[in-house]
């Protein structure tokens, strides 16, 4: 009974923790500029994320190793240092963007410029990690994140034409600005399939001490949790499509995105949007900070774990603190958080093939997954994804230049 409750909690917190700066900004832009036409991109990205996360969870649960540890051991440091370096660079930018997102949310509530909130938000992130444990952090963030259901409520109350929404799930070409459409498609994938999510998820499976009998929990959390979580992303897109689309608003800032709540929530629009953006980004900032510690400690063989006493994981604590400080330094430079989000999302796509390739090997290596190797379907999915990832990596920078 307790296990079922924990699984349900895991699904609920996955929903609450799904949207953050990347998914809000790309879905808002996608909806405002192309209506419902990019819903299929969110659905596809979610399927990719759920399948990769399930595989990462399987390596952690069966092989008792996080993804970073598995890649170091299986491929050696020469291979690993490239995706490691790339992931840390992207995590740094994305962390700065998420902290910026929280700062913008507070600005929406207070009117005080977002740059003033960067350091206090960074301190808050650090304090939650420093004093918290994994369950409190994950469940607390996820439950608070349920405020993002406001996007789903808004989309529902706007009563979009259901047949148009349904058509949005079929890939199609737009009748205008193909380059911009392609850029947003690739960005939605990059925003959803973030590298930090996979290692964070696998590290979480080890923090939660999952073992082989818990594989079903892994599957339920990934497919149901992330599946339902994507509905929130779709809520952002649909709301933006119905409200901002007809106004021909190109969402270039979070302040503009907040307008999408006005028709539904009236005078509560700014408050609700700020809460949804702020909590979503705060949760992501905590996860990215923790993940920076995880990935460094696991790669170099230091003791790690947010459930362990801090005195026993000194280098792990120093690592995530240092990365957070560096992100704050980037954040206080004052770059627009939404623009930083879009750049880090594009960089995610560039490194995607490096992220996916190890799965193809690990999921067929009994040392890491014992008898739970990928079948033909899993291997086929990974092979297709590697090729797709490579294609997206090639086009994303030109698309950012011409369509971004």
């Amino acid at each position: 009974m307790k296990k079922i409750f924990n699984v349900l909690l895991g699904v609920v917190t996955s929903i609450g923790g799904f949207v953050e700066a990347g998914s809000i900004s790309t879905a808002a832009q996608g909806g405002a500029e192309f209506g419902f036409a990019l819903l299929w991109a969110i659905a596809l990205a979610t399927i990719i994320l759920a399948m990769l996360a399930e595989m990462a969870g399987r390596v952690a649960t069966v092989g008792r190793r996080s993804m970073a540890a598995a890649v170091r051991e299986r491929f050696g440091f020469h291979y690993q240092m490239i995706p490691l370096g790339a992931e840390l660079m992207i995590d740094l930018l994305l962390l700065a963007a998420e902290i910026g997102g929280v700062a913008v949310a507070i600005k929406l509530l207070t009117g005080i410029g977002f740059q003033w909130w960067i350091l206090p938000v960074g301190l808050a992130v650090w304090l939650v990690i420093w004093f918290g444990n994994f369950t409190v952090i994950e469940d607390g963030v996820g439950l608070l994140g349920m405020v993002t259901i406001a996007f789903v409520v808004a989309a529902w109350r706007l009563q979009p034409p259901l047949n148009s929404v349904a058509t949005g799930f079929l890939p199609s070409l737009p009748n205008h600005d193909l380059t911009r459409y392609a850029f947003l498609t690739v960005s939605i994938v990059g925003a959803t399939v973030s590298p930090y999510l996979l290692n964070f998820y696998s590290s979480g499976a080890i923090e939660e001490k999952w073992t082989e009998p818990d594989l079903w929990i892994n599957r339920v959390t990934c497919y149901l949790g992330m599946g339902f979580g994507s509905i929130v992303s779709m809520g952002v897109l649909i709301t933006a499509a119905v409200v901002l689309g007809p106004l021909h608003v190109q969402v270039n800032s979070y302040e503009q995105a907040a307008l999408m709540f006005v028709p539904v929530f009236g005078r509560w629009a700014v408050l609700l949007f700020a809460c949804a953006l702020g909590v979503g980004c705060f949760g992501a900032a905590i996860e990215i900070t923790l993940n920076a510690g995880y990935v460094l400690a696991q790669s170099f063989g230091w003791p790690w774990g947010v459930d362990k006493p801090r005195r026993d994981t000194a280098r792990f604590c120093a690592a995530f603190t240092l990365v957070l400080l560096l992100a704050l330094m980037v954040g206080i430079l004052g770059f627009d958080p939404l623009q930083m989000t879009l750049i880090s999302v594009a960089l995610t796509v560039v490194v995607m093939p490096l992220m996916v390739l190890p799965f193809l090997v690990l999921m067929n290596d009994e040392q890491y997954v014992k008898t739970h190797t990928s079948g033909a379907f899993g291997n086929g999915f990974l092979a297709v994804l590697t090729i797709l990832g490579a294609l997206m990596a090639l086009v994303v920078i030109p698309l950012e230049v011409f369509g971004g």
Binding site: F75, G76, L357, L360, N364, N379
Partner: protein, 96 residues
């Protein structure tokens, strides 16, 4: 006596006795003798480090397994660890 870093030898190119490139050292097989671990043989492959990635990469790239050789410890000269070379002919090597 020479000291070498085994981790730097893995992935390093190895030359034949007449200075032609044979391939890369992919693996070192060691065995326990008394209380020590000693090198028994070296695995040399033309596919190089990609071989370590195994079936997955070959599946995607359609990589055909290149020629691989196994050299006994006494068939490899490590006097200069940065430039390992065979001290026998290629024909004397075992095929993997």
């Amino acid at each position: 006596m020479t000291t070498a870093r085994l981790d730097r030898l893995i992935g390093r190119q190895i030359l034949t006795a007449n200075n032609r490139l044979l391939g890369r050292i992919e693996e070192c097989r060691a065995e326990q003798r008394d209380n020590s671990w000693v090198v028994r043989e070296w695995v040399i492959g033309s596919a190089g480090l990609l071989e370590r990635l195994g079936f997955g990469v070959r599946l995607i790239l359609g990589w055909k397994a290149g020629r691989s050789f196994i050299a006994r410890w006494d068939q490899v000269d490590l006097t200069h660890p940065d430039r390992p070379r065979l001290n026998c002919s290629v024909d004397e090597l075992k095929r993997a």
